[in-house]
């Protein structure tokens, strides 16, 4: 909590608000809120993917630093335990976030030919938040891993100098 409410973060939020207000005139704080995805949006995005199917914890490993200085480029690796055979493999990996302006990060479609169910990329995080990785296996089941990341310099919604 200390990190999230540091003077820097508050100032950035203020600048963001000032920016919105300059365009829209008397724009209420609600405008800034609408720019941030909420945990409800994260849940909606996940439901949109999995429907009524249960999402179980396990099989998925989400490697992401717990504390990052710069939210503009955060290294992330998702790997899934799987024999990666024709009968039993990972079909796809989906990554979501809780508090960026939108809940999706990336979708990755693999398959038995991959041999190893693992992807690495670099992502943006606009705030300290949860990141969720979900894998869909060939039997249709969904598995997930969640990580909490503390971000000291936010990405995405900052003002351009």
């Amino acid at each position: 909590m200390g990190m999230r409410h540091s003077p820097t973060t508050t100032r950035r939020k203020f600048l963001g608000l000032a920016g919105s207000a300059a365009v829209g005139g008397a724009v209420p704080i609600v405008t800034m809120r609408s720019v941030d995805a909420t945990p409800a949006m994260l849940n909606a995005a996940i439901r949109n993917l999995v429907g009524e199917a249960p999402v179980r914890t396990g099989k998925v490993k989400l490697d992401i630093p717990p504390l990052v200085e710069n939210g503009n480029t955060v290294p992330m690796t998702v790997s899934v335990e799987s024999p990666m055979t024709a009968d039993d493999h990972v079909k796809s990996i989906y990554v979501f976030n809780e508090k960026n302006p939108q809940p999706n990060v990336g979708n990755y479609y693999i398959g038995p030919r991959a041999g190893r169910a693992q992807i690495s990329t670099r992502i943006r995080l606009a705030d300290s938040q949860k990141v969720v990785a979900i894998a869909q296996l060939s039997d249709g089941s969904f598995w997930s891993a969640t990580a909490d990341v503390v971000v000291t310099l936010a990405a995405c919604t900052d003002e351009v100098i």
Binding site: G16, G19, S20, A22, V23, V35, N72, T73, V74, N97, N100, P101, Q102, N104, V105, G106, N107, Y108, Y109, I110, G111, R113, A114, G115, R116, A117, Q118, I119, S120, T121, R122, I123, R124, L125, A155, C156, T157, D158, E159, V160, I161
Partner: protein
Amino acid sequence: MTAALINVPRKARRGDIIEIKTLMSHVMEPGYRRTAAGDLLPRDIITSFACRYNGEEIFRADFFPAIAANPFLSFFTAAKESGKFEFEWVGDNGFSESASSSITVE
């Protein structure tokens, strides 16, 4: 001239699991940032990536604004036969880039 960086092993044994690393030069403007004057910078991102191995699609990805600038992506495939990997990035404002890399499988 090309904006892509590709890292694929030149040689592999049949059945080896190899890592493919790709990086495409792109600003990935998320569409939520404003200038000091308050103007919203329109979204300009790569939206999809695909990799084909001798013509067969082996990997595909959808990108969102939460992917960092100059998207880096690494993934794996089983070396099956000698041939060519083709990579394609497609995005906003008609962005389209491709690259390729060959491999010898023994």
